[in-house]
């Protein structure tokens, strides 16, 4: 056999060997030299799955569950796994319209054929139970559980606050804890106690296949961290009292703050108008939030903490207290009211006239003249070189009552209220160009003075206690913790003469016995209080009331503000008395049902 092309055998062999060498080199390049592919492979198959920690629950002071976690289900779809199915039956089963189903399916397919897309959000547990039974008929669809907050009492929305998805700022300030899609407490207790309630989320590394389906844990879970559930909180709130307060305040604008004087515990914190806290959970959160945020009555505004009102006559006990403390008067300082306080061209009218034998009587009759008189006496006292010094001392004493300062309540965004000092008037009028007459309305709680309902209640609690108060707080303790109260709660002692405080309390007691509060006396309970009317340049005056009961060993101190309701005695006082009665007696006496009825039915929305 002749083979004239014998040498071509070698050409072919060399070509074959050369190609194999090129391939081996290429393999060396992508397998050994390049580390890039290993990273890409890890990105492909390794997923860090967050294990969410269940958020802590919240109980009220009597152990009633007021914030719960509830499961909701979302329906997801992986378009590539979907086979032809009976759309009519599916729509009926899931409760989705045919057009919406089609629309969402198209959207999902456009997003990714292999990655899951959300089809329908927020199926209830009951609904999903029915859906799940037949879901096997529809490959490609699956449900995923999600936890949302639920509120068995539908109350205390402002106090409890709400949670929402973190934003960029939360992520940056969260110390690396938060990631996109995490939830965080945005207001109320949810915000203040975020670190306690959230627990610590864990993470799990899982291998996924090309369709993002879990295939198992990575490295036997060596790198996984377990989630630590959030701690439960025991709130100081009496949820039934809270509900009752919200009921009384329906169709009114204003606040109720009720404290337990001996502990500073907040019993109720009503901000009206309010809203169902469930509105800000789950699927409709964003839409509801928009609606609430644009409501002209500002239901999201936490009035008890932020709204500052001139305290009016409710300020008078505090005014007397500053005078007594400075020593410009004694508890038996007397004064004869001519029906108005007149200095030069200035005249402050008084609703009463006649002889006032002491401070208690002045409080009982709410004598404007008396308080104008002692205000001037105080700031112009000879101990002070100048009225500015007197005013600042006056302001400093008010601060020890928590007036003009933050009380330090464990809720976010507390307001300061406002107590003007000499700086303020120096700026307003010029130095030495104002005197005690210029600022005399401060003496009767008007003028620039502003107090939040919380400050009013706190001041009342301090008076009820006889000169000391605990930082008001809405959380008593973390469940399971040994601490009796949280370290943020501090006892403020004001160093007062007991006789002085007793004089003020006697005055407030007489208000209820024989003064403006007499018609809202609580049967069987001795109470003390003070009505007030805050001048409102924009409309009808605001109705104010502060009070505590029982007088001998106060268990509740309360402040009520009802906007545009006129006299303090008209609405604030009855509402406060009903609250106190409800808390102390657990029920409203029969003869006061008409009063309760009137309060419930009153509509004071301007």
């Amino acid at each position: 056999m002749t083979d004239v092309y014998q040498n071509r055998r070698w050409v072919i062999q060399y070509v074959v060997i050369a190609v194999i060498i090129v391939y081996v080199l290429r393999l060396f390049q992508i397998q050994v030299l390049s580390k890039n592919y290993q990273q890409l492979a890890r990105n492909n198959v390794l997923r860090e799955v967050t294990v969410f920690a269940p958020r802590g629950l919240i109980f009220d002071r009597k152990g009633r569950l007021i914030v719960d976690n509830q499961n909701e289900y979302d329906l997801w779809v992986v378009p590539s796994q979907v086979t032809a199915f009976d759309t009519a039956a599916f729509c009926a089963l899931v409760g989705i319209s045919d057009s919406l189903l089609r629309q969402n399916l198209l959207k999902a397919a456009a997003y990714s054929r292999y990655k899951p897309s959300l089809l329908l959000k927020g199926l209830s547990v009951e609904k999903y139970a029915a859906v799940q039974e037949e879901l096997y008929l529809y490959p490609g669809f699956f449900g995923q559980v999600r936890t949302i907050r639920s509120y068995p009492y539908k109350a205390a929305a402002h106090l409890l606050g709400y949670i929402g998805e973190v934003n960029q700022r939360h992520i940056e300030q969260g110390g690396g804890y938060y990631r996109m899609g995490d939830y965080i407490g945005i207001s109320g207790i949810e915000h203040s106690y975020e670190n306690v309630l959230r627990g610590r989320k864990g993470s799990r590394f899982v291998l996924v296949d090309v369709h993002n389906r879990e295939q198992g844990s990575f490295a036997e879970g060596r790198y996984d961290t377990a989630a630590i559930p959030g701690a439960n909180l025991i709130s100081t709130i009496d949820i039934e009292l809270q509900q009752y307060g919200e009921l009384l305040m329906q169709n009114k604008i204003g606040s109720i703050v009720a404290l337990e004087p001996s502990t500073g515990e907040v019993l109720a914190l009503v901000s009206s108008p309010n809203y169902d806290p469930a509105l800000l959970t789950g699927m409709e959160r964003t839409r509801n939030f928009q609606r609430l945020a644009t409501d002209s009555l500002r239901p999201l505004f936490v009035r008890p903490l932020k709204a500052a009102y001139p305290p009016g006559s409710t300020f008078k006990p505090a005014m007397a207290l500053t005078a007594l403390k400075i020593g410009s008067i004694t508890s038996t300082t007397e004064y004869t009211c001519p029906g108005a306080y007149v200095v030069g061209t200035l005249s402050v009218t008084c609703h009463h006239s006649g002889y006032v034998p002491d401070v208690a009587t002045a409080i009982q009759h709410s004598c404007n003249s008396y308080f104008c008189h002692i205000f001037r006496k105080t700031v112009d006292d000879r101990r002070f070189a100048h009225v500015a010094q007197g005013l600042d001392q006056w302001k400093a004493i008010l601060a020890t009552l928590g007036i003009g300062e933050r009380t330090g309540i464990d809720l976010p965004n507390e307001g300061y209220g406002f107590v003007p000092g000499s700086d303020y008037y120096n700026k307003l009028y010029g130095k030495n160009r104002w005197n005690s007459v210029t600022v005399i309305s401060l003496g009767i709680g008007q003028g620039e003075l502003g107090m939040t309902p919380l400050q009013l209640a706190n001041m009342t609690a301090a008076l009820a206690n006889g000169g000391w108060w605990y930082t008001p707080h809405v959380v008593r303790s973390v469940q399971g913790s040994q601490e009796r109260r949280l370290p943020t709660v501090v006892r403020h002692v004001m160093d007062l003469d007991t006789a002085h405080v007793n004089a003020l309390r006697r005055g407030m007691f007489q208000v209820m016995e024989a003064g403006t509060g007499r018609w809202v006396r609580i049967p069987g309970v001795s109470s003390a209080g003070k009505t007030g009317t805050a001048e409102n340049p924009h409309g009808r005056d605001h109705s104010l009331f502060i009070g505590f009961a029982p007088v001998d060993s106060p268990r509740i101190a309360i402040a009520v503000v009802v906007e545009n309701a006129g006299w303090g005695a008209s609405f604030a006082a009855p509402i406060a008395s009903l609250m106190m009665e409800k808390y102390l007696n657990d029920t409203i006496a029969f003869q006061r049902r008409y009063l309760e009825q009137r309060m419930l039915e009153a509509d004071l929305i301007p």
Binding site: I12, V16, I30, Y37, A41
Partner: protein
Amino acid sequence: MTYHAARRPNQGIDWMLISLVLALMLVGLLAVYSTTAGEGSRFFDLTQMHGRQMIWILISLVVAGIIVLMDSKVFTVFAYPVYALMMLLLILVFVYGITVRGDTNWLALGPVRIQPSEFAKFATALALAKLMGSQNFNIRKLSMQVAALLILGLPAVLVLLQGDAGSAIVFASFALVLYRFGMSPFYMLAVFLFLLLTLLTIVVNQTTLILILFGLGALVIFLFRKNKSLTLTTILTLLLSLGYVFASHYVFEYLLEPHQQDRIRVLLGQQASAQDADYNVRQSKIAIGSGGFWGKGFLQGTLTRYNFVPEQSTDFIFCTIGEEFGFWGSTLLLLLFLATILRIIYLAQRQRSRFSMIYAYCVAAVLFFHVVINIGMTIGLMPVIGIPLPYVSYGGSSLVSFTILVFILIKLDGDRLAILR
């Protein structure tokens, strides 16, 4: 011929080549097992791919045994009839073909489904060996060239018409055989230029390409204006090229499926990497690259196990080996193929019959072409052309047909001393 009857059928057969082929089959079986076996699945599970592959290996070995037992004269005598039968099967596909995984190139023979395009390879090799092995064959004669081209072209066209471009391209591998036995390398060059022109028609705008061709032609004519015959050749070449450009443009735009266009464009870097068409190659490279030097270990290949690589048990089986056995394993497999091909060439060279020798080169060429295209595509050096990795990829038709291909050679080789044709 006289001692023919005295010989045992298995006498003189090349155990070295058989060992290499069996080793490849074993690698393939393990790789298929790795891609299909889930947690807790048994090795002997006939409902799984690896179980079926095992059956196909057994069938292949039975077929191999039958071939070894046959009289080697059969292959020369029936070379053309076998070829004719296979062409008939290919034509029958147009009538009775069934579609499996998107390709309509299957025939159902009772419970078994086969791909005639796979079996056309050994039949074509036999026919080509028969033609070129005949005493009066002269590759320089045009009639002979046309005859050889017809033998190769007929199955190629039939397979192409079934939409299986990958298998059709395989028939180009026989060019290597033509070259070995005297075909002018200029033909190879011409073929190469044609391929280049084909690429340019896809890459470059048609008008631009025509202008470039005219420019080049004018330049050649101007530079060699003294040489009349070259001018004529240039003009002819130019006309041919233009015709070809139009034709291939037409083929690319109107005859190729969109996914085939995509694959070609991705190879040429004409398509964004995020496109779906590029996904296979990307995932395949990631899987192989993530194997590193030592690999992730048998059954530990996360990417191939979790289906990131498409067609990973068939066309992309090499990914599993690359990922689980790393650089050393993939290199070993490449060397296994190299050894097999070199062994076949070695066997070819020791044949005394021209038929056997040519057939042996056909086997080497087809194997080499499959290996180069298949592994080349998984590591991004070749376009994505769906042809299996011989003996390794999952699939009965491919396995049996490659077994027949190589065992005919083994039988011919075993009888090399006994017969002289």
